[in-house]
Amino acid sequence: MRNLLAISATELRRFIRDRSNIFFVFFMPLLLVVVLGLQFGGGGSESRVAVSGAGGRLRQALAAELDELSVAVGATGDEAMRDQVARGRAAAGVYIPNDAAAAFAAGDPTQVELIVGTQGGSQLITQQVTTALQAVSLESAQRAALTGQGIPPDEAERALAAAEQDVGPVHVTIESVSELDEEFSGLGQFDLGAASQLLLFVFLISLAGSVTLIQSRQYGVQRRIVAAPVSPRQALAGQALGRWVIAVFQGSYIMAATALIFDVDWGNLWLSLLVLMVFGAVAAGGAMLIGSLMDSDNAASGVGVGVGLVLAALGGCMLPLELFPDTLRTIANVTPHAWAYEAYAEIQRHGGGLTDILPQLAAMAAVLLALGAWALRRSVARAM
């Protein structure tokens, strides 16, 4: 164990000494999380309504009702509202003309304008805005009825509030039949990008790290280690442990940074870490394999980056797996990325437990065992 730790600590030290790694480990992943968050997350535009036009009671009441329906409301000018809806930054816009605001205040029939976008959730948002306006109208009518009977406005307000407390409201749960909407529901803007970039970078940095294994052979250090009272298997296990520590370090950093900076929800933290540790072990096995198959560190670096990017793309780290055609989705299961992606989806989106992600963990462990056995046998032969 002492030898394993000495070798893995040295691998980690060498990795940290290479300053080019700092950019790829610390900055690049977060940069891509931001880019993907802006592309795919869009700030939850499917449940955002922009309101423009006259202020006053109607606008305040509408905003309050929409807020109760968990719809985000933004106030803006008329042109900006139409632009936001057109660009998909808001699912719908409500324009309140001045005369409508005045009519509402006077208790007269009121007409507002609803502008709906073309996104998947536009029907839903139309329904939500309509419901909110109906609630505003009803409350206004109730208030008018009470004051019409000679009840002072303050008492009328109190009576309405008491009635709201006493009469349990009917809650309507709105379900979308769109599988995609269902799948991505509840995800924060950066949640999806954070998980996929974690998988991409953990694997990529690990494979690129196969260079250090080749350099150890080229430097003659590998022979010297094996000439010490260290068995060839211990020497290689130490290097694999070093790669694994680097992978888990990188993944943990991405998890912590995205949680703190972008408020990414990783679900059950311990399960997310477990997925990271198993995936990191698969990545370390891949690095050992490339390191034992290749002789040139430059070639290994190129192959590592190439293989890492292709597997990441195929495994749903660049475009969500849910958007893949069925055939490609099936093919994606040859990558450990796809299994880890699904495990994170289960934990982050559906509150899945250990039993829910066991199939994914088992698939990755199987890849790891096959990879490890092959890589170890070949690496031992090459180390001597």
Partner: protein, 326 residues
């Protein structure tokens, strides 16, 4: 007539010898790289393996250090059987490989500490031993510098220092001065002499005759994977007997001169090196006149003639018909 001085290696390792190598054989495909090599090293002895490149020195070292499994034969270190999976005897050896085996990204002290930990050192002992070795190899003032900034000689010294760190019973130096400037080379040789004086057993391979003569108590002359002869310098030179060496430098028809000289009864061997002929000769003082005459008649125009007493180079030439640097 070649006289071989071979120690008895029939019996397995005894407690007294640091190293017993017995009938080592290793093939690479059709090539027999090591062919029945046997020798012993006593405690405190500096043993040299002298031979040209490709003689099988490094392959033998790899088997002795447990890096390579022999096809047949055995290696015992202080009575323990050595092999790739034998951790115990490896702890008794300090290997200084021919190629630099250090991490360039790490400092000298970090390299020493890393390999020290693998040798079982730790804590205060590792720290003090690291400082001692840095002092021995003259790198105390550069202990924290990354080794990629070191000169070739400094890297070589660190390479040796790593082998010394755990005070091994036997230090194995595989051609440690290859590619080193004269000043660093001398520093390395002085370090080895100092270690030998302190009683450390050393196995030293080289293709430089002067190094073997300067450092080694006993020397094995190897060629084509076999030990051609073994003994002290005096014993080895005795193999050549009363033979001297005559060096002829000149121009003209060197090849014809070499052919003519080979036919002279006093001449044992003739080696051609560019415009120089090196002859192993009996009774050089009386034979030299006839040799000069024969070379001239064959078309060689002599510029210089030199007679010298035999050295290890002569022995190697006598045993193999080749020069050490061939």
């Amino acid at each position: 007539m070649v006289t071989m001085t071979q120690h008895d290696t029939e019996s397995p390792a005894t407690g007294s010898d640091v190293l017993v190598v017995q009938d080592l054989v290793r093939n690479f495909g059709e090539l027999r790289a090591v062919d029945g090599v046997s020798f012993r090293i006593a405690p405190g002895e500096t043993y040299g393996v002298l031979g040209p490149n490709g003689a099988g020195k490094t392959t033998s070292i790899s088997m002795i250090a447990g890096l390579l499994r022999p096809d047949s034969g055995s290696v015992h270190v202080a009575g323990q059987l050595m092999g790739p999976r034998q951790v115990g005897p490896k702890a008794l050896l300090g290997l200084v490989p021919q190629e630099l085996a250090i991490y360039p990204e790490l400092s000298a002290a970090e390299n020493l500490r890393f390999f020290g930990r693998l040798q079982g050192l730790g804590g205060a002992e590792l720290r003090s031993r690291t400082d001692e070795v840095l002092d021995i190899i003259g790198l105390s003032d550069r202990a924290k510098s990354a080794t990629k900034e070191f000169s070739g000689g400094m890297k070589r010294r660190l390479n040796i220092g790593i082998g010394l760190l755990h005070r091994p019973a036997l230090l194995i130096l595989d051609e440690p001065t290859v590619g080193v400037d004269p000043q660093s080379r001398n520093s390395i040789l002085e370090s080895v002499e100092a270690l030998a004086t302190e009683g450390m057993s050393v196995l030293y391979t080289t293709h430089y005759m002067e190094e073997a003569e300067r450092l080694c108590d006993r020397i094995a002359i190897v060629d084509s994977g076999r030990i051609q002869a073994e003994g002290t310098r005096t014993e080895l030179i005795r193999i050549v007997g009363e033979l001297d060496e005559i060096r002829l430098d000149g121009s003209g028809d060197i090849a014809a001169a070499a052919g003519a000289l080979e036919r002279l009864p006093a001449v044992e061997h003739v080696l051609t090196e560019a415009r120089t002929l090196r002859l192993t000769v009996r009774e050089a003082p009386t034979a030299v006149a006839g040799i000069v005459n024969a070379a001239g008649q064959a078309g060689m125009e002599l510029a210089d003639v030199e007679i010298s007493r035999p050295d290890l180079e002569s022995v190697f030439l006598h045993l193999t018909g080749k020069a050490l640097r061939d």
